[in-house]
């Protein structure tokens, strides 16, 4: 009823390979897109600026990781390092006087090159070994950052980002920053939606499922793995650069540490490997829920007039948050994206599905 299927026929390949096969999906996406566009006018600036904006940028980043981990099936534990490469090279380029449009692309390309260089070395191994090699990349990058003041910006290791300017327009307002993040996230989402229905996406999935089986089918698995690494690194680089340019305003090594790499991987896994909407949910859960739960717990204890000491107060949200992740993965091991998928599947045939039970 909600996802009306009557009258939807796919009589040829073109129609069958549409992004949205069901009109309801398209309408829902358009509606969410409109809300996204209108967000600066309907959401108070605090929430726009400290929740929506990081959420969108991290979602773009998580989608990039999802490409290499969810689609191509390559475990990547050094994703934050790749973001750092992009962030630092864009900022250095921008400080050098390169216009931001090009600086962002330079950041993306540098990430892409360094990310795939590592992939060359890493792709001789698979699975857990690959995870460890990419983790090594993270540590190499951490070391480079903390030991080269020329890159990290002096003895405090903090590098100021110049004011973001796109298309000759200086961006300084919350609304402006939000639209930049929104635009980038939409761009990456469109790319990922299209990836699903192209030969490239199918080749990546083939490689994920069994790389030598893919080779037998004529898919050059090594080539596609490198391609996946390069593309995802590009997305990571630009996301990292935008994160600094629109949110942190300066880059510091802690923003791209190993803990962050693991967080992004958690976003992708909790959200659902290979799920686009899942990435949105996953990022929301991993990035925003700790802060929100913290706020709720504080309000609750204030409201009830409880005398809880600050340390306990700080640890309760962590416990709640951990429990939340465990519960979600217990209910649906395939992640939040699949959880949404289940609801959608249920509504798709509602109310007729009821007869089965």
């Amino acid at each position: 009823m909600f996802y009306r299927l009557s009258g939807v026929h796919h009589a040829n390949y073109v129609s069958d390979s549409r992004i949205f096969k069901v009109p309801a999906d398209r309408n829902l996406t358009a509606f969410i897109f409109l809300i996204g566009l209108a967000a600066p006018f309907i959401i108070p600036s605090l929430y726009l600026n400290s929740y929506m904006l990081p959420w969108l940028i991290w979602t773009a980043a998580a989608l990039g990781l999802n490409l290499v981990t969810g689609w191509a099936g390559q475990l990547h534990l050094g994703y934050a390092a790749v973001m750092a490469v992009g962030a630092y090279s864009s900022i250095h380029a921008a400080r050098f006087g390169v216009p931001w449009e090009f600086a962002l692309i330079i950041g993306g390309l540098t990430s892409s090159v360094i990310g795939s260089l590592f992939a060359f070395a890493a792709l001789r191994v698979k699975g857990l070994y690959l995870a460890l090699t990419t983790l090594a990349m993270q540590f190499v990058m951490d070391w480079v950052l903390t030991h080269s003041p020329a890159i990290s910006g002096g003895s405090h290791a903090s590098l100021q980002s110049p004011t973001l300017a796109l298309l000759g327009q200086e961006i300084t307002t919350d609304t402006g920053f939000y639209y930049v993040a929104f635009g980038w996230c939409v761009l990456v989402t469109i790319f990922m939606l299209n990836l699903k229905r192209t030969g490239l996406g199918r080749a990546l999935v083939a490689v994920r499922e069994k790389d030598f089986a893919a080779a037998i089918l004529g898919v050059n698995s090594f080539y596609y793995k490198i391609l996946a690494f390069a593309t995802s690194s590009f997305i990571a680089g630009v996301s990292g650069a935008l994160l600094v340019a629109t949110f942190f305003f300066l880059a510091a090594p802690e923003q791209f540490s190993v803990a962050v790499s693991i967080q992004v991987l958690a976003m992708v896994i909790v959200g659902g490997l290979g799920s686009i909407i899942g990435s949105y949910f996953g990022v929301a859960l991993i990035l925003l829920v700790p802060g929100i739960v913290n706020g709720l717990v504080v309000t609750l204890s204030d409201g009830l007039g409880m005398q809880i000491d600050v340390e306990t107060l700080a640890h309760i949200p962590n416990a709640v948050y951990g429990a939340l992740i465990v519960i979600i993965l217990l209910i649906e091991p395939l992640g939040l994206g699949k959880l949404y998928g289940n609801i959608r599947d249920y509504l798709m045939v509602w109310p007729f599905d009821q007869f089965k039970k």
Binding site: F31, L34, I35, A38, F41, I42, I43, P44, L46, Y47, N49, S50, Y51, P54, R95, T146, H147, S152, G153, G154, S155, H156, A157, S158, Q160, F247, F248, F249, L250, A252, P253, E254, Q255, L287, P290, G291, N294, G295, V298, D309, V310, E311, L313, A314, H315, P317, N318
Partner: protein, 412 residues
Amino acid sequence: MKKLTKALAVFSMVGGALFGTQALAEPFKIGICYDLSKAYTFATPQVSQAAMDLAKLINMKGGIGGEPVEVIVRDHGNEPQRGIECYSKLSREGVFVFDTLSTPVSLAILPRAMEDGRILMQSLVGRGDAVDGTVFDWVYPIGPTYWGQAANDVAYIKQLHDGDLSDVKVGFVYFDYPFGQEPIEILETLSEKEGFELELYPVPLPGSDQAGVWSKVRRDNPDHVIVWMLGGAHVVASKEMQRNRIPMDKYISVNWLNEVDIANIGKEAAKGIKRGTNVVGGQDIALYQEIMAELYDKGEGSGPIENTQDVFYNTGLAMYSIMFEAARKAAEAEGLPITPTSYKAGLESLEGFDANGLMAPITVTAEDHGGGGKTRIEMWDGETWVPQTDWISEYTDVVWDVVKESSSQYEQ
């Protein structure tokens, strides 16, 4: 379209009800966005407890200018993103004085505070060049910078050697990341200036394996070892020193060495260990006694009493005495309500303030936001901390050269 506008209207109504913003005109508040659950928990509980105790004490005495004060403690888990969220949220509730006690979070908030014109206190954390008030208008790292502290340590060593460092060897053992690397530049400059030999010993994080480092120290046999490490790493270091038979009195720690570390090393074993500090250690302090009498003896302390018997509690008292004193000055000079500008003026009118013998006297000016950066060296004698020097602040010209060089990069 009609449906959409309706949906938007409902949305904005819900949004407004949920996230309604509040009006101003409230008591003076300090936003304490601390890491109470991750990396900085070795100090944050004591410091925040000190802040809350001090606020209670001030309110018992009638507040500031007749108005109560308030400290708001929130956890940010040492994540820059949550720190920014804490800052944004509290600043919309009318808070304009913030402290983070975390370098990554302080760095993340700094550009915003500078932009919004809100006071960012960052004693002992964050970028040290922020003491340069001509560049960092709104940032106050009151207390010593790591550069100043290291320079004072060298001054102390110079005192020990009767003013001649030419045949002295100084080792520097440090965590191999920005926190530990910061003093290197100043030590190298001073080594050239004073002619002492400097040996660097990087310790990989988290500092649980230092076997190689200290056997190298034994071979090089420096006369003093300046140590830039935290928490458990001190305990590991002391074990390795005993194993290598290096006397404990060579050890001069950064201010991050507390009673918990001493207890873990062992009170006897730690005899002779030294630390640089900007606050008086121990409990023999007027303010501390007052808090005990007024709060803890009546069961109204803000946390366990054990937390108060720790040098970081004294550090917290020092930090927040400064903040409240500045508020008092602001209220005296320009009346209530205190604004960011009047508060800034209040901070910059602090002169020789030592919170009744609690800490090194500080004098904040529009140029020097660090308050002078005085420290002293204390030695653990098995029972208590014995001061080895007066409050000193040496080589200020060298320190300020480094500060200026670094802060000029920020402006670019």
